[in-house]
């Protein structure tokens, strides 16, 4: 995974992944009904916390104090997004899922 070892073929692969992901994203997400748009947003907040993957590498590698500080801060922010995003989305979707007979409790 050393960036400097990456050649043209690797760049083209990444570009392909990017383009295909955009298309899949549009295709799947445009079918989400408007009533679920808020959970969609908080859920995508959680998914954007994927930066955590990059952050843990930065926080744990041998890049010196500065790199560890940057990485650790990134880990904190990204984790807030991941944990907070998924938990709050679950809370919301639980309300959407309620059956009418349950609601009278």
């Amino acid at each position: 995974m050393d960036p400097q070892a990456c050649n043209d073929a690797c760049l083209i692969c990444m570009a392909l992944i990017l383009v295909l992901s955009i298309f899949i994203g549009f295709e799947v997400i445009s079918k989400v009904p408007s009533r679920l748009h808020t959970p969609l947003m908080s859920g995508s907040n959680a998914i954007s916390g994927i930066t955590l993957v990059g952050a843990v590498i930065a926080a744990g590698s041998v890049g010196g104090t500065m790199a560890v500080i940057l990485g650790t801060l990134a880990v904190v922010f990204a984790t807030v997004n991941v944990v907070g995003g998924y938990v709050v989305t679950d809370r919301m979707l639980q309300m959407f899922q309620k059956k009418p007979e349950e609601s009278k409790k």
């Binding site: 960036p3 997400i29 009904p33 959970p39 930066t51 590698s61 990134a74 922010f77 989305t89 979707l93």
Partner: protein, 458 residues
């Protein structure tokens, strides 16, 4: 042993789980499972990354994860459903700053990584920075720590244009010699933060659904750029999903307001064309809770039209209680939802879901408009611009052409409103002066409570 294959294999699994999770989000029944599946994908992606051979010290990362988890879980537990727009705004910002920091870290460790990597680092830092500071401003406006009105001053567009030009020049200087460019790099970070503030301050409260959607998209694009910078496939894939999601929502919101994105970002709503629209005036017919009770009691079909005011006065539970009382009397009750009602996409749906209103009763704008003539009473709760007939009638109005819930075509309209102050758009609403409109002044929650009391007194 080399774990690269295993790590990337699990990333593929995680990507599939993200897609499947989003697919299940297309129905309220399966959505919760979808969210869980997406979370499993995230968990796998993070855990397998810990095998990365570049990682030698786990201490700081684990402390970071622990701190972040506690903060995130607390946020998610204590946030009220009425505060969801603020929370999403804040989380957009966190996504942006995380990508900025990852990009910065990549540059710090490998300043000689080549033009492509440095370009993506530049993009991650720029977009991440704009997302972060812009989201903080959006959060400040939504949580009312800052005034929600658009802040405009002379030469604003010029200044923003200048800012962008300076950033681009700085970017090309930086890219021409990244190794010696650390001061320039820090300058770019600073300017991108300034740019984020400048872009969001001229945008007012009612345009927040567009801005939040757009910043949501940016946070994904920033993650994508960071992924390209550190050559991480799962970041690219997940970032692209979030970017696409935000763009779709932005588009939906713009359409619902009949405005272009350019107009929202640079228009400074309510300032353009001021004074050009037709004067509205006439006699306002105020009523009390008791009269409202008589009107509602005699109706056979009632539609509630909620707006941001419902969230402000947290009246969703009382509203549901009133709806139940009407239904017990055999009155048909529906809740008409405008796509931009509230401060974020789907805001009203979440509030009403919290109050246990079954989702079959939530009717979208087009559907309710088709049969609005047969509805006896439309009750407007803290909504204004989304029911303003000027959007249909007054070609000079700044909201002309915006699709509205055409409540004025129903038999009687009751408007619950604090005072006669104009809505966010700063324009009068001729609905309030129509022959069939009655105004019930006061806080929405108290007014609804008053009507309920009348029902119970009988």
């Amino acid at each position: 042993m080399n774990f690269i294959l295993l790590i990337n294999g699990i990333y593929i699994v995680a990507a599939v789980l993200f897609i499947y999770g989003l697919k299940l989000l297309t129905s309220p029944v399966t959505a919760r499972r979808g969210n869980l599946i997406s979370a499993v994908g995230m968990f796998l992606a993070v855990v397998v990354t810990l095998l990365n051979e570049e990682i030698i010290d786990y201490r700081w990362m684990l402390i970071g994860i622990a701190v972040g988890s506690v903060i995130g879980a607390l946020f998610a537990r204590i946030v009220k459903m009425t505060q969801m727009p603020e929370m999403v705004a804040l989380f957009n910002g966190f996504g942006g700053i995380a990508s900025l920091l990852v990009g910065w870290g990549a540059y710090h460790v490998m300043p000689r990584a080549g033009l492509f990597v440095m370009t993506t680092v530049f993009l991650a830092v720029l977009i991440g920075g704009v997302t972060f500071s812009g989201s903080l401003i959006a959060w400040g406006k939504l949580s009312e720590l800052m005034p929600g009105r658009p802040m405009l001053f002379r030469g604003q567009t010029l200044l923003n244009g200048l800012l962008i030009i300076v950033i681009l020049i700085g970017g090309s200087l930086f890219l021409s010699n990244p190794e010696a460019g650390y001061p320039i790099f820090l300058g770019i970070i600073l300017l991108s933060l300034v740019l984020g503030v400048m872009v969001v301050i001229p945008i007012g409260g009612a345009d927040m659904p567009v801005v939040i959607s757009l910043l949501n998209s940016y946070s994904g694009i920033a993650a994508c750029a960071a992924g390209l910078a550190i050559r991480n496939n799962i970041l690219i894939v997940a970032g692209a999903f979030v970017g696409a999601s935000g763009i779709i929502l932005t588009n939906v919101m713009c359409k619902a307001m009949n405005r272009s994105l350019y107009n929202v970002l640079f228009g400074g709503f309510g300032v353009v064309k001021k004074g050009a629209e037709a004067e509205v005036g006439g006699e306002v017919k105020a009523i009390l809770a008791q009269d409202t009770y008589y009107i509602l009691e005699a109706a056979s079909a009632v539609a509630f039209v909620p707006g941001y005011g419902l969230a402000v006065s947290q009246a969703q539970h009382v509203l549901k209680e009133l709806g139940d009382l009407l239904e017990e009397r055999g009155i048909e009750v529906s809740y008409a939802i405008h796509p931009v009602a509230g401060r974020m996409p789907g805001h009203m749906n979440v509030l009403l879901a919290e109050a246990d209103v079954p989702y079959e009763k939530l009717i979208e704008m087009e559907q309710i408009n088709r049969r609005i003539g047969s509805i006896d009473v439309c009750v407007i709760i803290g909504a204004n611009d989304i029911v303003n007939p000027a959007a249909r009638e007054d070609t000079n109005s700044s909201i002309y052409g915006m699709p509205i819930i055409e409540v004025d075509r129903s038999k009687t309209v009751i408007v619950l409103k604090r005072s006669m102050a104009p809505g966010f758009a700063g324009i009068g609403n001729s609905l309030f002066y129509k022959e069939n409109t009655r105004m019930l002044f006061g806080d929405a929650k108290e007014s609804l409570g008053g009507i309920i009391a009348e029902f119970k007194n009988v």
